[in-house]
């Protein structure tokens, strides 16, 4: 395996551990079993970044967070949430890049620059989402039921449009 692939997988492990540590630190009642499972999955994901276990690992991290950590109440908890979101993003991107190229060859510099730039852009775009969520959370607005339904409908519409765009090419007659 090339050195750059080692580094990529090292970053994957670091991001996963960061996410795990943040969850455990923010949780009043840590779920140790989940932490052990996620640790094992991290090792497997670093070895096989193209496997479905990366999806299980990332989903497990978020579920672990949602089940163990209450909705952030103070600014420090919100900052921790943002770092956790970035760690999840880094985990996903490093696994994707490691799976996109043969493990034996060094990752081309152009790819590294491109993925880093795009990752930073996505991380930056996450900040407004996080800020809006923090503001709405701190205002403790209960919200109206009609608005919730509207948001659900928007997510459903978004899902449908993503599905439409993601369909595989069909051979044209």
């Amino acid at each position: 395996m090339s050195r750059s692939q080692f580094v990529l997988r090292g970053i994957l492990v670091t991001a996963s551990l960061t996410l795990l540590v943040l969850t455990l630190a923010a949780s009043p009642h840590p779920i140790i079993v989940a932490a052990v499972v996620l640790l094992a999955l991290t090792v497997y994901a670093a070895i096989e970044p193209d496997s479905v276990f990366v999806t299980v690992l990332l989903g497990g991290h978020v579920l672990h967070w949602l089940s163990a950590v209450p909705v952030p109440a103070d600014t420090a908890a919100w900052v921790g949430l943002l770092v956790a979101a970035w760690a999840g993003l880094v985990l996903h991107l490093t696994a994707s890049l490691a799976a996109s190229l043969p493990g034996q060859v060094p990752v081309p510099r152009l790819s590294l620059r491109r993925w880093t730039r795009r990752g930073a852009l996505v991380a930056a775009v996450t900040v407004p989402v996080w800020a809006v969520a923090m503001l709405s959370g701190q205002e403790a607005v209960k919200g109206e039921v009609s608005l919730t339904y509207a948001a659900i409908a928007a997510v459903a519409l978004l899902t449908f449009s993503v599905w439409l765009l993601s369909r595989e090419d069909r051979p044209r007659p």
């Binding site: 193209d50 496997s51 479905v52 990366v54 999806t55 990332l58 989903g59 978020v62 967070w65 949602l66 909705v71 952030p72 949430l81 943002l82 979101a85 970035w86 999840g88 993003l89 996903h92 991107l93 696994a95 994707s96 890049l97 799976a99 996109s100 190229l101 043969p102 493990g103 034996q104 060859v105 990752v107 081309p108 790819s111 491109r114 993925w115 795009r118 996505v122 991380a123 775009v125 996450t126 989402v129 996080w130 969520a133 923090m134 709405s136 959370g137 919200g143 919730t148 948001a151 659900i152 928007a154 997510v155 978004l158 899902t159 993503v162 765009l165 993601s166 595989e168 090419d169 051979p171």
Partner: protein
């Protein structure tokens, strides 16, 4: 612009597990955040959804044009070629990778048999990914199969054809250095470089004799003519070509082959020696034929001359495979041993002398009056009874479990082999170990003397 050579690869763009992960988890957690009123789920899912949407929006719209080829159609042992994938990227294509599976007796550069590249935005020019493959042993060398993959933004879509298997590249043997200064015993052709027994136009003096009607004037030997007062001419031996038949014993392959520069097996020795002998005699204008004993699907190459024939012989030698040791192989050997041999042919049998039938065939040819030379191709380190344990493993797969029994069995086989070789020598078949230049000189000289002596042969 001309299209790159090679086989065009076909595939479809497919969604990767990374893209499914980004879209699925992103939607799931954003949806859960909305439904469950968990803003933290929304924040955790948002970057994944963004990545998924980005990859979807910039998805590749057209298949890239990818061609796979091997740079050279034929190799010699030790020569290298390139496994080349030429990729013409379409819009949205960002990375490409190539991986070859390992092939026996092949050295790869880079050593991990993989290459990758990234395409600049808007790049449309063909880009090549190549891996250098050096074939270190004769034979048909399948390079690969290979995996070629091209991916889009964030690795969301991948274009990956099935494993690419290009036709195997024949690696012709690198002939050992070989020369023979002694002419072939019975040249019986038209024009060549071997001194025949007949008088005729040639370079080697036979005698000075009185002039006869029909002799050319330029042959008149004036000093003798003046001294004797009668015209005398110089008579020479005719220079003629001869026919050489190479018989390569492929019934057994004893020893371990490590390719060029490493240890050799008996079949390595036989094939390289056959290539060397063929090259030498074809360059001197003789006709060379080839028969591989025990090999399947290899025709008997009739004797012919010329450089094209040398290529034909080397190509056939590259396709030699050791027999499986089945009953059909024994039957095939028996049918092959009924081949026709013209009078005056020099038969060179290259064998490790493990199959008694081959030595018996050499004796039979000799009794028919054919000049026969047997070249012993058994590696010298295996021709001793006390071989180390590592050497035993080359002889039998059971050597690790039963080393003493294997060593004893090999000693018995060597004793039988020595007895068979002694009987063959007594029957007039010279047996020489392969030693490169001059291997055949001594025995050819003896055969030449013997061929001039009267004897009884059985037809």
């Amino acid at each position: 612009m001309t299209a790159a050579p090679g086989q065009r690869l076909e595939a479809r763009w497919r969604v990767t597990s990374a893209h499914i992960r980004a879209v699925l988890l992103g939607l799931l957690f954003v949806g859960a955040g909305v439904v469950l009123r968990r803003p933290d789920a929304l924040v955790l899912g948002a970057p994944l959804l963004l990545v998924g949407l980005w990859a979807t929006a910039t998805r590749p719209t057209a298949s890239p044009v990818v061609r796979a080829a091997i740079a050279h159609p034929v190799l010699r042992e030790g020569q290298a070629t390139r496994w080349v994938a030429t990729i013409t990227p379409g819009p949205g294509v960002e990375e490409a990778g190539l991986v070859l599976l390992p092939t026996p007796y092949t050295l790869f550069t880079p050593g991990l048999r993989a290459a990758a590249t990234a395409f600049a935005p808007g790049a449309g020019a063909p880009t090549t990914l190549e891996i250098i493959c050096q074939s270190t042993r004769w034979g048909l060398r399948p390079l690969g199969p290979a995996t070629v993959a091209v991916s889009g933004a964030f690795g969301g879509f991948r274009w990956e054809p099935q494993s690419v298997s290009l036709p195997a590249i024949p690696t012709v043997p690198l002939p050992d250095t070989f020369t023979a200064r002694v002419p072939v015993p019975r040249p019986d052709g038209l024009v060549g470089q071997n001194r025949s027994h007949h008088q005729g136009s040639g370079g080697e003096l036979d005698q000075i004799r009185p002039f006869r009607f029909g002799d050319r004037l330029r042959r008149v030997h004036w000093p003798v003519s003046v001294r004797t007062g009668e015209l005398h001419v110089t008579a020479t031996h005719a220079d003629q070509d001869s026919e050489i038949l190479l018989l390569v014993d492929a019934m057994n392959d004893i020893g371990q082959s490590e390719g060029v520069g490493g240890s050799t097996s008996s079949l390595d020795n036989a094939v390289r020696a056959a290539g060397a002998i063929a090259e030498h005699y074809l360059r001197t204008g003789d006709r060379v034929g080839l028969l591989v004993l025990g090999a399947r699907d290899l025709p008997h190459v009739k004797a012919a001359a010329g450089s094209n024939h040398l290529r034909r012989l080397l190509d056939l030698l590259a396709r030699v495979r050791v027999a499986d040791g089945t009953v059909s192989d024994e039957k095939r050997l028996r049918s092959q041993l009924r081949h026709h041999v013209s009078a005056g042919t020099l038969a060179v049998i290259l064998t490790p002398a493990i199959s008694p039938e081959v030595l018996a065939h050499a004796v039979a040819l000799s009794r028919r009056g054919i000049s026969v030379v047997t070249v012993d191709t058994l590696p010298s380190d295996l021709a001793t009874p006390d071989i180390p344990l590592a050497g035993l493993a080359q002889l039998s797969s059971a050597a690790d479990d039963h080393p003493d029994e294997t060593r004893l069995a090999w000693r018995l086989r060597l004793l039988e082999r020595n007895r068979e070789m002694t009987r063959a020598r007594q029957a007039g078949v010279p047996i020489v170990p392969w030693a490169g230049p001059g291997t055949l000189d001594l025995v050819l000289r003896d055969l030449g003397r013997r061929s001039r002596a009267p004897r009884v042969v059985s037809r």
